[in-house]
Symmetry: C2
Subunit: 230 residues, 2 copies
Amino acid sequence: MTILSHISHCEDGNDTNNCFKVLTDEEKMLLENNRTEIQFTKGETIVKQGTKATDILYLKEGLVKIGVNSGDNNLILCVKTKNHFIGTENIYGYDYHPYTVTALEDSTICFIDISAIRQLLKQNHTFNAEMYKVITNNSLITYDRFFSLTQKQLHGRFADILLCLSKNVFRAQKFDLPLSRKDLAALTGMAPESVIRIIKDFKTDKIIATKGKKIEILNQPLLEKISTVG
Amino acid sequence: MTILSHISHCEDGNDTNNCFKVLTDEEKMLLENNRTEIQFTKGETIVKQGTKATDILYLKEGLVKIGVNSGDNNLILCVKTKNHFIGTENIYGYDYHPYTVTALEDSTICFIDISAIRQLLKQNHTFNAEMYKVITNNSLITYDRFFSLTQKQLHGRFADILLCLSKNVFRAQKFDLPLSRKDLAALTGMAPESVIRIIKDFKTDKIIATKGKKIEILNQPLLEKISTVG
DNA sequence: TATTTATACTGATATTCGTCATTATTTATG
DNA sequence: CATAAATAATGACGAATATCAGTATAAATA
C-alpha cells in the first residue's frame, strides 16, 4: 500500500510517541505550567492557516484534519489521531500556521507554549531526538500521500485512504466514518461525486459495506491490491 | 504563486543555511573528520531509495533531483540546489533512504556521518535550531508542491515549476534547463507529451522562448497569474 | 413536527489529460 | 563520420474524471 516500507499512509492512533516518557519530573512540570488544555467540538476550527503561531499543539483526545486551502481548492494533508503533535513546523523557522486544523470528532487539544518546547529540546537531548522522530515520520507520511495522490488514479487513492483509516486510525475492519464525502474528496484529491461513485463500485464488488456512517472492509486483500496497482 | 506566504515552490540556491556558521572551530573539525566529499557526474545516482542510510548528505556544489519511484510511477519530490542538506529524515527515526537522489548537473556531495550530526545537535543547540529550520522549510516546500500537483491543472503546475526554476534555482529569466521532458513530467505529475504541449502553448502565447536547452521567461506576470488561477 | 438546509446520490455531458503510433531531432557510440 | 540510441515533437484517439443539473435523503432548526 505504500512506497515506503514500514510507513503507513497516515498516523497511528495507538502507538503513542515517546516524547513525554523521556522527561524528568521537573521537565514535566515545566510543560504542565506552560500548556492550556482546550476542548473542541466536532467541526470547530482549532487553528487557522496564516495566523500567527504561539503554541505547538498536542492532540490529547479526538481526531482532527490538517487542511490547506486557497480559493476554491481544498486539500486535506492528513488526519491526525490522539497522542500526536501538530504544528511542529512552528518550533523554529516559521511563525505562522501553515495549515488549518479542524476537529473531526470532539477533541482535546493541549496548546504548549513554543518557548517551553524549545527549552525542553535544548536541555533534554532524548526529548529532542524523539521530536525529530515525530517530524521525520510526518515527512515520510507526507511523501507517501504525495505519491498516492499524484501517481495513482481514483480507485487506488481511495483504497489507500480506506486502508489507512482501517489499519491506523480506527484499527478495525468496521468503523464510524467521521468524514463527509466532501472531506474524503479533499483527502484523496478528487471530486465528491467521484468519491460517491467509487464507494458504489467498491460496494458492488463486495469490497466494502456501508450502513449510515458505518463502513466495513470486507475484502482487505483486494483493497491492498487496488492500492498497489494504483 | 504559492499558498504559503514567503515559501517558494523549491529550494533557493543562493540563500545558504546558517548551520555551519554557528559551529565552533572545534565542532567544525569534528565535522571535517567525519565527512567524505565525493564528486558525481550528471546523471549519476547519489543514493538509492530503500538502501540503508549511514550519512546525511550536503550538496556543496551542483544540482540534484529527489525522486520517489515504485513500478512505472515516477515522482520528483523536489530539486535541490547547492548548500542544502539532503536526507535529514535519517537523522533520527528512520534508517533507510526514503528517496533516490540523482545528479542533474555535476555535483559535489559531502557525506556526513550521522553520529557526528547527532553529536553536534546534542552539544550545540543553535546548530540544532538551524537544523529544525532546514527541516521545517523542507516540509513547507513539500506541502506547497503537494497542493500544486493535486489542486492545479497542467498549465498551473507547469507555471509553478518554471517560476521556481527561474526565481529560486537559477535566479535568472534565462537559463539552461538541466531537466529532460521526462524529468519535467515527473516533477509536475504529468505525461511527457503534456509537458511538450504546454511548452508549445506557452511559446505561442509568448510567455516563454526556448532555444536548445535554453529557456527564457518572457512574461512573468502572466505566468504568475496562470499559477494562481491553476 | 414542519420546514429549511446540508449532505448524499444519480445520470448525462464536457473536458482534461494520458496513451499510442509516427516522425524529427538530438545525443551517444562504434 | 556513420550509425544507433535516446530524446523531443506531433496528431489522432480514448479513457479517466470533473462539472452540471437534478433528485433523494438526512440533519439541523424553528
